[in-house]
């Protein structure tokens, strides 16, 4: 393609040179004074620059135009009969919509497969897949800023708040009247409800947090799987021997939030993030006590690994709190590891956390019908079977969850956590909330702060300031 265009440009350039040479010879004969000389150099330069500009414009315009130009021979064939048929029968107009998705190889392949099936069933709708490399949210936001976003896109529950707040997502309720939303886990559907109670996304899949434990290490130390906070401290202490540690924990909100809720705490009040309840402070103090000085537990960074999965997979530690995504990772990197999962040790009530992504439709889309149809199609049972077969994230439908649990019995426990799992979503400014609470936790562990309540009060003050500035 490029070579062809370059060749074309060269041809134009050569032709132009010939023309200008002729004109210059002519000029030279008629004008033999010095002035003529100078105008000749100018002419030469002008013609050269003109030729360059022309060549480049040919290169640009020509190359751009080439694609549709090649397509024209076929296009009329399809469209002419349609145009004729248009008058009497008025058939369905063919439309084109786009879907933006995460760009890892698995998603790209899956989405390609799914939209092929969709287009077979809906020949009048053409779907273009747009895998977004780099920072998905940054790209999506900038494209929205220029009103150039895709019709359908993935929406993380963590990001959903700011998109809903800015009226960027289409409320799907009226399009879901004929759809079996009852089959979806209620907490997942709720996660994508706006402050107005409308549904802004159809859950695609999800993961929850559980306690992972190394069966052999626990058996060797004669430790039962911990069920309460006291059990957990005792077990971690007993398991911290011979250079091993009881626990590895990522010192961040999306790991310790279940401890807040287990202690009767919460993250949101009246639709606003409120993080500094005494229950939360008590839970955070407990969490930090597990990691303090690296005696019974430590962070992945202090253990010299990238994340929990490596520390646990390499048997440096006996236990961790992690999401369902760690199971496939461990199967791959530590195939011989004998591990189990259990509900996170609790204080007052059982707790976990849910991470989920939905199919959302742009509020801007011109193809509401086709776009909602695609979103519904992608989350139907047949498509979720693909999610089940891949064994990665867990399907968002209860009926498919049962199939998933049967297929992967060792991951059934992750579904048990759903009813008591809190969402990874703090409204409009989720990123700021996570950052502030993380800073509080890091300050308590490494920054010399000692009072969890004060640390969370400071975080709350910063969150309020960020919220006021919105």
């Amino acid at each position: 393609m490029f070579r062809k265009c370059a060749g074309m440009a060269m041809e134009v350039y050569e032709k132009f040179q010939k023309v200008s040479e002729v004109s210059m010879c002519h000029k030279h004969k008629s004008n033999k004074n010095i002035k003529g000389e100078s105008s000749m150099t100018l002419k030469k330069m002008l013609s050269l620059s003109m030729a360059t500009v022309m060549a480049s414009s040919v290169l640009l315009a020509g190359c751009g135009a080439k694609e549709p130009a090649q397509a024209t021979p076929d296009a009329p064939k399809v469209e002419t009969p349609k145009a004729k048929a248009d008058e009497p029968a008025a058939p369905v107009e063919s439309v084109e919509i786009s879907i933006a998705h995460f760009s890892d190889p698995f998603e790209t392949e899956t989405v390609a497969k799914q939209i092929d099936l969709f287009m077979q069933q809906n020949p009048n709708i053409k779907v273009v897949a747009e895998p977004i490399t780099g920072d998905f949210w940054e790209v999506l936001k900038t494209r929205m800023a220029s009103n150039n976003e895709p019709d359908v896109f993935y929406m993380d529950v963590f990001q959903a708040g700011s998109f809903m707040d800015a009226d960027r997502l289409l409320a799907l309720d009226e399009h879901l009247t004929d759809y079996d939303m009852d089959d979806f886990y209620g907490s997942l559907v709720d996660a994508f409800k706006g402050t107005d109670g409308k549904i802004y996304g159809i859950p695609k899949d999800f993961n929850t947090l559980l306690l992972y434990y190394n069966k052999k290490m626990l058996a060797d130390a004669g430790v039962e799987v911990p069920k309460t906070w006291d059990d957990l401290t005792a077990a971690a202490t007993k398991l911290s021997t011979g250079g091993k540690k009881g626990l590895v924990l990522q010192n961040e909100l999306p790991r310790f939030q279940p401890f807040f809720f287990s202690n009767g705490g919460s993250m949101m009040k009246d639709g606003k993030p409120v993080v500094n309840s005494p229950e939360n402070a008590e839970a955070l103090a407990y969490w930090v006590s597990l990691l303090k000085d690296g005696k019974i537990g430590d962070t992945p960074a202090n253990l010299g690994v990238g994340w929990d999965g490596d520390a646990f997979g390499q048997e440096m530690v006996a236990m961790t709190v992690e999401g369902g995504w760690m199971v496939p990772y461990l199967r791959e990197t530590a195939p011989d590891l004998d591990f189990g999962v259990a509900q996170i040790p609790m204080k007052k009530n059982p707790a976990s956390m849910v991470f989920t992504v939905a199919y959302a439709v742009s509020a801007n889309t011109k193809q509401v019908e086709a776009s909602t149809k695609l979103a519904k199609f992608l989350s139907n049972k047949e498509m979720q079977q693909i999610v089940v077969d891949a064994g990665r994230a867990m399907p968002s439908r209860k009926s498919m969850g049962e199939i998933f649990s049967q297929k992967y019995p060792d991951r059934a426990e992750f579904f048990v956590a759903v009813p008591h799992a809190s969402a990874f979503n703090y409204g409009v400014i989720s990123p700021a909330v996570v950052k502030e609470v993380n800073d509080a936790a890091v300050g308590l562990l490494q920054g010399g702060a000692t009072d969890a309540q004060k640390a969370l009060d400071q975080a709350q003050a910063n969150i309020d300031a960020a919220l006021a500035a919105q």
Partner: protein, 298 residues
């Protein structure tokens, strides 16, 4: 000015303008235009996702900035970072240039070896440094010989910024060395020969000949050093996984404005931070230019 009076010159000018036109258009559309737009945004309460809700709020973004403790921390970090990195990297680059300028065996190898970090992507460098500086990494093992306790450099609020400094120095020294090396090629051999005759040793020669004659190059190196370090982003982004953590230890001004603009959708606030940084860099550049020029006169 009567350059437009001569027809020949006028025609040349027209040709010249036609030739520069594409580049000028390119700069207007992709650089000047966005700068002006960002300047306008900095007076607005502009949410990237909801531009229709944006309102003109005058200087509020700017006054808010100087009340924002995180922005103050970011300024502190950035100045600390620049204040340490620039002198250190300039000195090391000068020394390396002297070494690479000697007629020693394998000097091409040294030149390539010193320059190699400059052509390595910042992300790859950061990944390598995180490997070297983690608790089980080479650096901690080395220090543990002397009885130091292992620390996780990038996860520890005390060591994260120093780690970013080490990374920056390591990766930019090569380019600066190249500039010094080019400057040294311009110093005539005869000056050194005369100094030899006068009995000046190598160290005296370095301070009395090489350093003063490289003044212009030094100014350039310090200038681009400051401009580059005040805009530090990539190392901080990689070390902190985009958060500026631990507890804002690696929060720089550019990372701050990025997080405000793209994380919290506060484009106006982010733009204001960008203009504060621009004014600081601009002022520093002018001051440095004046200082160096005054020195050159004396």
């Amino acid at each position: 000015m009567n350059r437009w009076k001569s027809p020949r010159l006028r025609q040349d000018m027209i040709a010249a303008y036609i030739l520069v036109l594409p580049m000028v258009l390119f700069i207007l559309v992709f650089t000047i235009g966005p700068v002006i737009y960002a300047f306008l945004l900095s007076f607005q309460n502009f949410n990237m996702l909801a531009p229709q809700r944006s309102t003109f709020i005058g200087l509020k973004n700017y006054t808010d900035l100087f009340k924002d403790p995180v922005f103050k921390k970011a300024l502190m970090n950035t100045f600390t970072y620049a204040g340490i990195v620039v002198p250190v990297q300039t000195c090391i680059a000068l020394v390396l240039a002297v070494v690479a300028n000697q007629n020693i065996r394998g000097k091409t190898f040294y030149r390539v070896a010193y320059y190699l970090p400059a052509v390595t992507s910042a992300v790859a460098v950061a990944a390598m440094f995180m490997f070297l500086f983690n608790t089980r990494g080479l650096v901690n093992r080395f220090f543990s010989i002397f009885g130091f306790q292992s620390v996780s450099w990038f996860a520890n609020p005390k060591y994260a910024l120093p780690l970013a400094m080490i990374m920056a120095i390591w990766s930019t020294v090569g380019t600066l060395m190249l500039i010094f090396l080019a400057g040294m090629q311009d110093i005539p051999e005869s000056v050194y020969e005369a100094a030899d005759v006068d009995g000046a040793n190598k160290i005296v020669q370095f301070f009395s000949i090489t350093v003063p004659l490289l003044r212009e190059k030094t100014m350039f190196v310090v200038l681009i050093g400051f401009i580059g370090t005040l805009q530090m982003f990539d190392q901080a982004y990689v070390i902190s996984q985009g958060t500026g953590g631990p507890i804002n230890a690696t929060m720089t001004v550019v990372l701050f404005l990025y997080l405000k603009a793209f994380g919290e959708n506060r484009m106006g606030y982010g733009s204001a931070a960008a203009f504060v940084l621009f004014i600081i860099i601009f002022a520093l550049t002018v001051v440095q230019k004046l200082v160096f020029e005054r020195k050159a006169e004396s």
